[in-house]
């Protein structure tokens, strides 16, 4: 009924035929023929000793293809496709192959946590038109898993028939432009259950996000139970029910690992630690003092970093957690240190006078202690940008990974100091922005990081902006983040998805789309695919929101500005 905005010819060149794949592979050739999925469709593995988590992944893929039941996002939801079902070939088998024979291939969960410089997620995929077997091949089980997540996104359902209309399809080689593609969840401002986290990991898997940055504690609550320090959660969790036991942590770590996701736990120090005062009041400066003077948000309180006892305690806490985790990375935080808090703290001032140190000298010593303990466990330490740009911490090891959050403008300065970075800038990737002031008694207050960061804004992020040539390799990737002052299980899915898929494509696909177009200039092409992955998420029980009226979702480009 309604004419499209652009001419048909223009639409044809702008929209790749694979509307469904997110992130879009780096190489892609596809046709527009329909093949049907056989009712006896199977995935076979052509090598011996496949690890159990690969078998499990195969089973999940087979299950998802059956249960997604996604109608193609066009007017009629695939009714026109059905006219070709009678003459279409049937697809019976997908074969998984390893490019290099290994006597015992390593589990996905192992490949997912190897050092960033050796992680291999590449794969190739073919789906022939004639009904012969398709193939996913890769160097690693992790690569095979990435191929499976692509394969799952090819299929639609109409009237009980599972089919794709993108045959023949060839992905000669797909591999990520950036090795770090993350999502951060804060489980301290408000608590989230293990099942909430697992559902989030499922969605992350679908869009090939490979790192779950778990901001597990903060000033408001300490939900993580640590066997050696039971008092922290006993006094600091919101309730016994709102804690993560060591078993819960292992459960999340294995669930993530099986889905190709590394778990980067952050215990933010020395700021953002007021809640430690609930069990160790002597360790915390300005505990519950007037927050507006001594903290970025309530409650006030920071570890007394000048005190060697506190530094050793902190190192022991971090080690106790870090040593239970397979990841090579661990974050000690380091953001938003409030110096007024320490200026007003008599024990801190006394110590500084006695030792003749400045506060930042003392922070250096504190960091040497905590990071030293983590390095002894073989961990690479991760910190927020202030540790490099504001506190001039001199004891950071060269391989420290720095997260840029305050502004995207700060990335170049961190790289210039020679550190590897993860892009997490509030002006592009903070999912909580734009929901208004949450502090009480402030009727006209807005979100500090207004406005809301749309998926479109995130999608146009340039990871290499102002990065000197020759230093591009210091950019590991990036992540979208959810700080949870105004979030809980009730709005987790709706605030995160599908928006967080935006950076997943930025950092997987990079600057150039498989058809040669520039990503940033083609958000109009991206939207139909993002709708598609969003609708697929909903079919899988993830409450991703609508980005537009359904009228627009069924008519690519018709609602462009």
């Amino acid at each position: 009924m309604f004419p499209r905005l652009a001419s048909p010819a223009l639409i044809f060149t702008l929209i790749p035929r694979c509307l469904g794949i997110w992130p879009i592979p780096r190489s892609l050739e596809s046709g527009n023929q329909i093949i049907k999925l056989s009712s006896s469709f199977d995935i076979s593995i052509n090598f011996t000793h496949p690890p159990q988590d690969l078998l499990d992944a195969v089973a999940r893929t087979k299950q998802a293809i059956q249960t997604d039941q996604l109608g193609r996002l066009v007017v009629g939801r695939g009714s026109t496709d059905s006219q070709a079902f009678g003459s279409a070939n049937t697809f019976h088998t997908l074969v998984l192959a390893l490019d290099h024979d290994a006597p015992t291939p390593r589990p996905i969960a192992t490949e997912a946590v190897v050092g960033l410089d050796t992680r291999d997620e590449s794969y190739s995929l073919s789906v022939p038109l004639d009904g012969s077997a398709g193939v996913v091949s890769a160097n690693t089980t992790l690569g095979l898993l990435r191929g499976l997540s692509t394969f799952e996104q090819l299929w639609y359902t109409f009237d009980g028939m599972i089919y794709t209309n993108y045959a023949p399809l060839t992905i000669a080689k797909d591999f990520p432009a950036y090795i770090y593609r993350g999502f951060m969840l804060d489980t301290a401002r408000n608590f989230f259950s293990v099942s909430d986290i697992k559902r989030t990991l499922d969605a992350m898997y679908l869009v090939k996000i490979n790192t779950f940055h778990w901001h597990i504690t903060d000033s408001q609550s300490w939900p993580i139970q640590i066997a050696q320090f039971p008092e922290l959660a006993r006094a600091g969790a919101y309730s016994v029910d709102q804690t993560f036991t060591p078993e819960d942590i292992q459960d999340v770590v294995s669930y993530a690992g099986e889905r190709g996701i590394d778990v980067l736990i952050e215990i933010d120090t020395p700021g953002h630690t007021a809640i430690v005062g609930a069990s160790h009041p002597d360790y915390v400066a300005c505990y519950l003092s007037e927050w507006i003077t001594f903290a970025g948000e309530p409650p006030a309180g920071q570890l007394r970093l000048v005190d060697p006892v506190v530094a050793n305690f902190t190192a022991d806490v971090l080690s106790a957690v870090a040593k239970t985790l397979p990841s090579t990375m661990f974050s000690t935080g380091g953001d938003e240190l409030d110096t007024a808090c320490y200026s007003a703290d008599a024990p801190t001032q006394m110590n500084l006078n006695e030792t003749g140190r400045t506060l930042f000298d003392a922070l250096d010593d504190f960091t040497a202690t905590t990071h030293g303990a983590l390095h002894a466990l073989g961990k690479t330490t991760v910190v927020w940008e202030e540790m490099v740009l504001e506190y001039n911490t001199t004891t950071l090891r060269n391989d420290t990974i720095v997260m840029v959050w305050i502004s995207s403008d700060d990335a170049a300065a961190v790289v210039q100091k020679g550190f590897r970075i993860v892009h997490a800038p509030s002006n592009y990737f903070y999912l909580d922005c734009g929901a208004g002031e949450w502090i009480g008694n402030d009727p006209t207050g807005n979100s500090w990081c207004d406005p809301f960061k749309t998926w479109q804004e995130s999608y146009t992020f340039d990871p290499l902006a102002n990065i000197s040539s020759g230093q591009e390799s210091l950019v590991l990737g990036g992540e979208q983040l959810l700080w949870t002052e105004q979030s809980g299980p009730e709005n987790l899915d709706s605030i995160v998805w599908p928006r967080a898929a935006s950076s997943a494509e930025v950092f997987w696909t990079g600057d150039t789309l498989p058809d040669g177009f520039n990503r940033v200039q083609n958000i109009s092409e991206a939207l139909p695919r993002l709708h598609d992955v969003r609708y697929r998420m909903v079919q899988r029980g993830i409450k991703a929101i609508r980005l537009q009226p359904e009228w627009c979702a069924l008519r690519p480009q018709a609602c462009d500005g």
Partner: protein, 554 residues
């Protein structure tokens, strides 16, 4: 030292921590009282109690069992354990009519279908401290129902004991404004009936009176109209994404039993592009591009109101829909008319040439025809503000005008003598602040940025810049959800608890203090969550358990 400060703060605000909207008169004590295990609600003095009152009583008793809400303080009520052991227990709540009431009672549903000025929502509630029977008295069944809602908010749970620590309680309550609404747009995206029913439940818990149902729009026509079956057959998103006549009756009766009138809206003559799927002859500029020239959002297309055929079609469509709603009010919309669309529409230009009418004159006769059908059916028409402020139209004096573009427009509407509902985008639009949704526009923000916090809505002044006489024309207000970016997946979190802010504003009256209100609003949100409505956290739980401590002034 700080600990004792916290205690003082807590003591100062916890006295009425549960009730939302705040009753107009309230006194509470400090005596603990527990609910007896055989607690019951007694209607024996009411002859022939209506079925919907009996059902409301059952629901109230059920909530008392299932809410299981722990007090929102640091120890979640554990410090009351000792006093609860020795507390009296309440075994009965007695409902009765005041002396002003006579004859067999009318049902809640009948009372909410009455004209808004005739509705009686006031009640008195007492809960003695000694365990003797609590009472609710009212002059109407609707009033008894409002009292039950208040009673259900008094109770907390500690280790399976249901208790209050604020007995004795005495409440005399009635609303300041009779219209307290929530609007949902079910056309940009479709919402299943179950979502609407759940929303009606939440609305009733905060004593809202009106579900303003923006049923159709340019993007889809999900309403089944038996006289015009093609509208939904061709205009709904799918055959299962339709509100059947049974669905509509279900929604109406579910709402009415909960003290809520359904105000249906069929937006005309703009916002009607989708009608072209079934009746292309009635729609000007369907799908015209660029859409931005011919519509505020895609797709373009508006009813050919200069056409006599289209006028008759619209009048009989409105009549068909209106006849299925028992309420006194019906909205014909009237917002965002795009004149460019008519300028390029040849049939419209031909009609105007033939009659010698201007576009505005044609709109006037269209509006009169459509409105007269409603008036003949005994309905009061409701329109958006443009019909009064942008066009010189002949409208019945009874017409109710919804102010949406800006709160600054309310006084002008009142000056023209119309009753009005406050629905200003700068205070009550729940969709604002979620970024631009139009495609291919990376740095576009929400047109009505920023996000409207509950605090902003709560501080709205319904009678700003009005004379006393004009102020009397304000019948209330509503929060609204336009659903370009909403769907079942984010309905609850985008609406609750924010929409409760206007529910209290228009029940208890303006001038409330946001610092005092926040702990009670937390309480409402947590209780909603216990009852299966996904209200969001307004703050970290740390703050919710420590009233006042996360205020900017703390």
């Amino acid at each position: 030292m700080l600990q004792s400060n916290l205690l003082i703060v807590a003591a100062a605000v916890s006295a009425v921590s549960a009730l939302w909207p705040l009753p107009t008169q309230l006194s509470t004590g400090t005596t603990s009282l527990v609910l007896a295990s055989d607690f019951d609600i007694d209607l024996s003095v009411i002859s022939n109690p209506p079925q919907d009152l009996l059902d409301a009583v059952s629901r109230t008793k059920s909530y008392l069992q299932t809410d299981q809400l722990e007090a929102l303080d640091v120890d979640r009520g554990a410090s009351y354990a000792q006093s609860l052991q020795n507390a009296s227990s309440l075994s009965s709540l007695s409902l009765s009519f005041d002396s002003g009431h006579s004859g067999d009672p009318t049902s809640i549903s009948e009372e909410v279908a009455d004209a808004i000025e005739n509705r009686v929502e006031g009640y008195t509630l007492t809960v003695p401290e000694d365990g003797s029977a609590a009472t609710i008295k009212a002059n109407s069944t609707l009033g008894l129902f409002r009292g039950l809602t208040t009673f259900g908010q008094l109770w907390y749970d500690l280790n399976n004991t249901t208790y209050t620590v604020e007995a004795p309680i005495a409440i005399t309550d009635s609303p300041v404004y009779p219209y307290r609404g929530f609007m949902l747009d079910t056309a940009r995206n479709y919402f299943p009936v179950s979502d609407i029913l759940r929303t009606l439940d939440a609305m009733s818990w905060v004593k809202m009176t009106t579900f303003h149902w923006h049923m159709v729009d340019s993007q889809s026509f999900p309403l089944e109209v038996p006289e015009f079956p093609e509208l939904s057959a061709k205009g709904a998103y799918g055959s299962s994404l339709v509100y059947s006549t049974d669905d509509v009756q279900n929604i109406i009766s579910y709402a009415a039993a909960r003290g809520i009138d359904v105000l249906p809206e069929i937006d005309t003559p703009g916002h009607t592009a989708i009608i072209a799927e079934a009746y292309p002859e009635h729609v000007a500029c369907p799908g015209a591009t660029p859409w931005a020239t011919y519509a505020n959002e895609p797709p373009a297309g508006q009813l050919r109101f200069a056409s006599a055929d289209t006028t008759n079609f619209t009048a009989s469509l409105i009549s068909s829909v209106s006849s299925r709603f028992p309420g006194k009010y019906f909205s014909t919309g009237g917002d965002e008319l795009n004149t460019e669309c008519y300028a390029i529409d040849e049939p419209t230009q031909a009609d105007l040439n033939a009659t010698g009418n201007t576009l505005e004159q044609a709109l006037d006769s269209f509006t009169q025809s459509v409105q007269s059908v409603l008036v003949d059916d005994g309905k009061t028409p409701v329109v958006w503000e443009e019909m009064v402020l942008n066009f010189n139209l002949t409208l019945s004096n009874e017409t109710i005008v919804m102010v949406w573009i800006s709160s600054a427009d309310a006084a002008a509407v009142a000056e023209k003598g119309f009753r009005l509902v406050q629905a200003p985008s700068d205070y009550f639009y729940l969709d604002c602040g979620a970024g631009g949704w139009v495609g291919d526009s990376p740095s576009t923000n929400s047109w009505c940025d920023p996000f409207k916090t509950w605090q902003r809505a709560y501080t709205f002044d319904p009678v700003a810049n009005m004379t006393d006489a004009q102020a009397k024309l304000v019948i209330g207000g509503e929060h609204l959800l336009w659903t370009e970016q909403s769907h079942a997946s984010n309905l609850d979190p985008i609406v609750w608890p924010r929409a409760a802010a206007s529910a209290e504003l228009f029940w208890s009256g303006p001038g409330g203090n946001v610092s005092e209100a926040l702990p009670r609003l937390h309480d409402v949100a947590f209780r909603m969550s216990q009852r299966g409505v996904g209200a969001i956290a307004l703050q970290p739980l740390w703050c919710a358990l420590r009233p006042g401590v996360c205020d900017i002034s703390a």
